[in-house]
Symmetry: C2
Amino acid sequence: NVTGDRLWDSLMEMAKIGGTEKGGCCRLALTDLDRQGRDLFVKWCEQAGCTIKVDKMGNIFARRAGEDDSLPPVMMGSHLDTQPTGGKYDGVFGVLAGLEVVRTLNDYGVRTRHPVEVAVWTNEEGSRFAPAMVASGVFAGVFDLDYGLSRADLDGKTMGEELARIGYAGEEEVGGREIKAFFEAHIEQGPILEHEEKTIGVVKGAQGQRWYEITVTGQEAHAGPTPMARRKDALVAASKIVTEVNRIGLDNQPYACATVGLLNCSPNSRNTIPGEVFFTVDFRHPDDAILSRMDQELRAYANKIAEEGGFDMAFEQIWYSPPVEFDADCVNAVRTGADIAGYAHMDIISGAGHDACYINRVAPTGMIFVPCENGISHNEEEEATPEDLAAGCNVLLHAVVERATV
Amino acid sequence: NVTGDRLWDSLMEMAKIGGTEKGGCCRLALTDLDRQGRDLFVKWCEQAGCTIKVDKMGNIFARRAGEDDSLPPVMMGSHLDTQPTGGKYDGVFGVLAGLEVVRTLNDYGVRTRHPVEVAVWTNEEGSRFAPAMVASGVFAGVFDLDYGLSRADLDGKTMGEELARIGYAGEEEVGGREIKAFFEAHIEQGPILEHEEKTIGVVKGAQGQRWYEITVTGQEAHAGPTPMARRKDALVAASKIVTEVNRIGLDNQPYACATVGLLNCSPNSRNTIPGEVFFTVDFRHPDDAILSRMDQELRAYANKIAEEGGFDMAFEQIWYSPPVEFDADCVNAVRTGADIAGYAHMDIISGAGHDACYINRVAPTGMIFVPCENGISHNEEEEATPEDLAAGCNVLLHAVVERATV
Ligand SMILES: NC(=O)NCCC(=O)O
Ligand SMILES: NC(=O)NCCC(=O)O
């Protein structure tokens, strides 16, 4: 079994880097804080006897040699970047659970047949640089390298520039090598396991996602002497679309999620009618056909608002990630691990995207969920118990050892 | 008559300070650019033989002595600060028209019985520091000095600190002295004069205003695994209120104006449900009773949204400026000036607030409007013709000379 305290201590140590007053974590991708988090991870892995490689997307691979080191590795991992108001577990748990598995193998002096690697994927959150999971996406051949390196934040800084700046623009080619299996442990980020009183979620797949960027352009004018009838108020138009996004989510229950997370109003002055509003839309559904229908409803409504109000509307779907079904052998390895360890478990579909969703395209993949308090994530109050985290890590150990032996 | 070219050249010279690519002007109150604008104005006034005084709110008074310099002055003026996407005329015209009147009196060697002053009022726009017209408000005793100096921008910098920083925290007490009459020339900032083909608007008064700040607090959570039914999405709530503000404006026609000009969403991340949204509301109506009704409708709706959705809602009316009626003698002086000069004119109610609205409480006050292209203001494309501006300045000259003589 893994050492739960050591896992917990590592999580708390990592959480200090970017730790917030409210007990959360703000460690945005490719910032100086992200570099510090990466450096700490690399130090720990070297202390555990691993060799480190970094690829051109800044993905880090810490490798523990196998009996036959020419065999493809069994890989674990997740991400170290967080949301602006992120928690201490999202992503970090999957990375440090991987490290804890390596440390446990060391403790027991176990040498697996296949080598074992712990991966840190760059910019999973998609918050500083959109879309999410971009570097695991390049690894999986979903995006090409140029696309990945040219993703820019809202200040125009690209991932390529920022990787070079923090010293994590590595030499390795991205992807293109065989992987025996990939496992990602993660907090559920939703309320289901807690509600069903299960310790382990055996993740069978993930819902599909479509992300959009919309810019509505109206006309700036004075809020006082400009009659209502002559206005082109871009914020009124955007607000109607925000409400419609919510309506589309509500009307496609169960399962649909629909969110406007980011909205910037310009010139953002109290007594000037807004001339331009930029905002994003995040649509999700496990059924691709319903996700398409949501897409059509949004497009139709946005067109209607633009035409009726005489607005310019720049409407772009910037990301589409279809629903994912994980590998049967890997899912079984997770379920068997939970059974052997005696944890209450259930099958579950992931509401969030994860690096595992892309790695699944180039390697047999599975995921392990543990509960988080009130199902709350992407929030500084995100919480999980040391017991549940240790349980998830034990299941990861079982699944990895099983796949690294056959 | 005034020299239109000289007025125009001064306007264009001033517009370079903070000039934008799109031909507008961004010279926010108490920034380094505002200091440069003030310095230029002071230099020009000194060259025109005026003495300069600055009060504790940073209001500047350039004085041309009268025959009997112990008599109360006739004052002209407006403001030099602009909106973030402002134009070249809003405010600046009233200040430089005052300067042009002084220069014209010099040209003709006319000495008026009363002294004549040109005033620059600090932070009229209310964009960097809310509310609008705050320094003329302190002058008029509507706000006390501490209130004025403690107004803070969204970064927390106060007007007092920023006045000291740019060297315009003057020695003079604010207000408390007799003024014979005050005249403010201004572009209309609305479409009426242009539509009616009039050169001069004889401003009889201004509509009432109520400004609000609203903060909706919900709960941040992950946009993927958080079911719609469990969400407290602060942006959805705010968007409904934005739409309702617009509805209230439309349903109180004619005259009502209703605007949300500023909205900040937090944490503003694509895949996080917004936990907090801060926004402002600007309500206007010439009839105080209808303005009150709009206020009640907004409060009722905001309460409903808060209760239904379980949101915390901080709702504050931060400013109330009742409808204004200008002084009959001053209004007549403007109308007579337009008649004598032979300009097509009409009576009009101001849609915008102006420093004149506050000065009206402590001195007989009038305003002169000239058309602006398409009625567009608070926009970098704000335009007015040299001819109309010269006409407005001529009417100002007539009115001032008339009042400075009796
Ligand atoms: N797990 C996670 O927070 N992923 C970010 C991508 C997404 O929004 O699903
Ligand atoms: N004239 C002008 O733009 N004033 C600003 C105050 C207002 O919003 O009415």
